[in-house]
């Protein structure tokens, strides 16, 4: 069989748990980690005669999301019943939205790693976002051969965000999921905690010969709760589908589960009954009407969005698209960077970016700390950047000072870097006479390198520079050492 060039088509459905206080249709709490069923009230366990009443906070978060992605917030949307039987769904249906969702359209711009160290831009269109309730949890561990049901999660508000099938690789799918994850935290509608299930991805994956207009048959991978699993599951699924077709098989529409232990996907339910949900408008709930006044008020309260801030970083501070995107990965990171630049001056914005994304990010990562818990404050980092800018210290010494700042050696004040430079005598030596004295000493002690250099060995020069820096304990200005050394040898 001839090798076909396959094109991958991926669309994502992402369930974000909204960070309200109470449930979407009842006044029970949604706090994580409560005793089983301690937060399941009469509405959540579907006692006869109860009625759902919609939570304004959940609707407001949906509006915020709709505005943040440039979608349309529907002036009128409808709740529908999605019917299926499962013990963790006590009503026998999930209240969701079907024909008229609360948000339509919208788009999100991504930077996708190209696998060669660079990045390319990608636009992903959104289809819709709708409000719905979560189901409870089934615990299949052994309760004398029975299943245990915890309904604390039943009725937790979710916003399901559905993308168009615009992604063409697992890398694009992951970049999209990450961008959405950053956005819902940025606009503060979801805590983004993937381990606790606050942000869960379903991936619809199909393949088709490149150039073919129709989509191939898709399989849906359910419940991926980490970006790594999302990537692994999609990559496995793509290869599985291609192998199947190339062996003469046909992909059957199915829902599949990813097993992180084996790295494989496997079919979970047959297509037969899976999509026979018999949606119909829920007679218990009237249409959700959202006035333009309400929308405008929410718009006025939105923070500056990451895309806008990132564009500002590129335009005003001259950062690359990649740096600007990295610095707007979270509101906390962006704020830290803004505070650093505010203290160090716009002229040093690029240096500030390098330190926030470089040394600081690496140390925070290693210590598993969030930037909001950084032991080095933005003002202190700015103090360090200023001393590099005015040549008080070299970049190499700056790393030493940063280390001391991290260990709180300079105290808590904004001028901690100055205190450390002073106390440890780290000021850069720029006095020509002093540097010449060091060079003379080094030359006298390294006659062999001098002879090698004169014989044409360029490397010997670098060795001599290294010796001079070492002799000055790293404090000599490297550019001056280079220049003076050249003069003396030349």
């Amino acid at each position: 069989m001839s090798r076909t060039d396959w094109e991958v088509v991926i669309g994502l459905e992402i369930h974000t748990q909204l960070n309200t206080q109470s449930k979407i249709f009842s006044g029970a709490s949604i706090a994580f980690g409560a005793e089983p069923n301690a937060q399941a009230c009469a509405v959540d366990i579907a006692l006869p005669g109860v009625l759902p009443v919609l939570n304004k906070g959940a609707v407001e978060r949906a509006i915020r999301f709709g505005l943040a992605i440039g979608g349309t917030v529907a002036p009128k949307s409808i709740f529908a019943r999605k019917n299926y039987f499962y013990p963790d769904l006590p009503k026998g249906y999930q209240i969701s939205q079907y024909e008229l969702p609360v948000v339509l359209g919208g788009k999100i711009n991504l930077l996708v790693p190209d696998g060669k160290g660079g990045h390319y831009e990608k636009l992903v269109n959104l289809t819709r976002a709708h409000l719905e309730e979560d189901a409870g949890k089934s615990l299949h561990e052994d309760f004398h051969g029975m299943t245990g049901i915890d309904l604390n999660r039943a009725g937790t508000p979710l916003l399901e965000i559905v993308s168009e099938p615009d992604m063409r690789s697992s890398a694009e799918a992951v970049a999209y999921a990450k961008a959405l994850h950053a956005l819902v935290r940025w606009i503060d509608i979801c805590d983004g905690n993937m381990q606790e299930g606050s942000f869960r991805c379903d991936a619809n994956v199909s393949v088709r010969p490149r150039g073919q207009a129709e989509f191939g048959t898709r399989r849906e991978i359910k419940n991926l709760n980490s970006f790594r699993f999302l990537q692994q599951a999609i990559d496995y699924e793509i290869q599985w589908q291609i192998d199947l077709i190339e062996d003469g098989g046909k992909v059957q529409q199915a829902t599949v589960l990813f097993n992180p232990d084996t790295g494989e996907t496997r079919a979970m339910r047959s297509k037969e009954d899976a999509h026979d949900y018999r949606y119909f408008p829920d007679p218990d709930l009237l249409p959700l009407v959202i006035s333009s006044d309400w929308i405008e008020r929410v718009r006025g309260e939105l923070p500056e969005l990451p895309a806008a801030l990132s564009a500002r970083f590129e335009g005003e501070y001259g950062l690359s698209a990649y740096d600007a995107t990295a610095l707007t990965a979270s509101r906390e990171t962006a704020q830290f960077y803004l505070d650093t630049v505010a203290a160090a001056g716009t002229a040093n914005a690029k240096t500030c970016a390098n330190w926030v994304m470089g040394e600081l990010a690496a140390r925070l990562n290693k210590a598993e700390l969030d930037i909001s818990a950084s032991p080095v404050s933005a003002a202190q980092l700015a103090g360090l950047v200023l001393r590099i800018a005015d040549n008080t210290i070299s970049n190499a010494i700056a790393k030493k000072v940063f280390e001391a700042l991290w260990n709180q050696e300079g105290g808590a004040d904004a001028n901690a870097a100055d205190a450390i430079i002073e106390a440890q005598g780290l000021k850069q030596v720029t006095d020509t006479g002093a540097i010449e004295a060091i060079i003379d000493e080094v030359l006298a002690a390294n006659q062999k390198s001098v002879e090698e250099f004169r014989a044409g060995k360029e490397k010997a020069f670098n060795a001599l520079v290294g010796q001079c820096m070492k002799a000055s304990k790293g404090k000599a200005n490297p550019a001056q050492v280079n220049e003076l050394l050249k003069k003396k040898l030349g």
């Binding site: 206080q21 009842s26 301690a38 009230c41 939570n55 304004k56 959940a58």
Partner: protein
């Protein structure tokens, strides 16, 4: 429109209703009767009429986002057939 016997069985299965073989024909006749009623309604010209999702022309009232319900697990579980460790127990479900 009329339903086939297989469709009647399928609908019963989705609704978790057990239909004895002898009841399938009668159920089919009843359901088809309902379809007859729907056909009559569909004959009415509704061009230009916006579909309603609810018989009342009202908007949904919203509830402030406040926790108002406390823990009443003990009372609820007193009427449950079987519980353990705070969980409701049900016959084992396996996907």
């Amino acid at each position: 429109m009329s339903l086939s016997l297989d469709e009647v069985r399928h609908i019963a299965k989705l609704a978790r209703l057990e239909l004895a073989d002898g009841d399938v024909d009668a159920t089919q006749a009843k359901l088809n009767g309902i379809f007859g009623l729907i056909e009559e309604m569909q004959a009415v010209n509704t061009d230009g009429v916006e579909p309603m999702s609810h018989p009342q022309e009202l908007a949904q009232r919203l509830r402030p986002d406040v926790v108002t319900e406390g823990n009443r697990r003990e009372a609820f579980q007193a009427i449950a057939p079987q519980t353990e460790a705070g969980l409701y127990l049900v016959p084992k479900v396996i996907e």
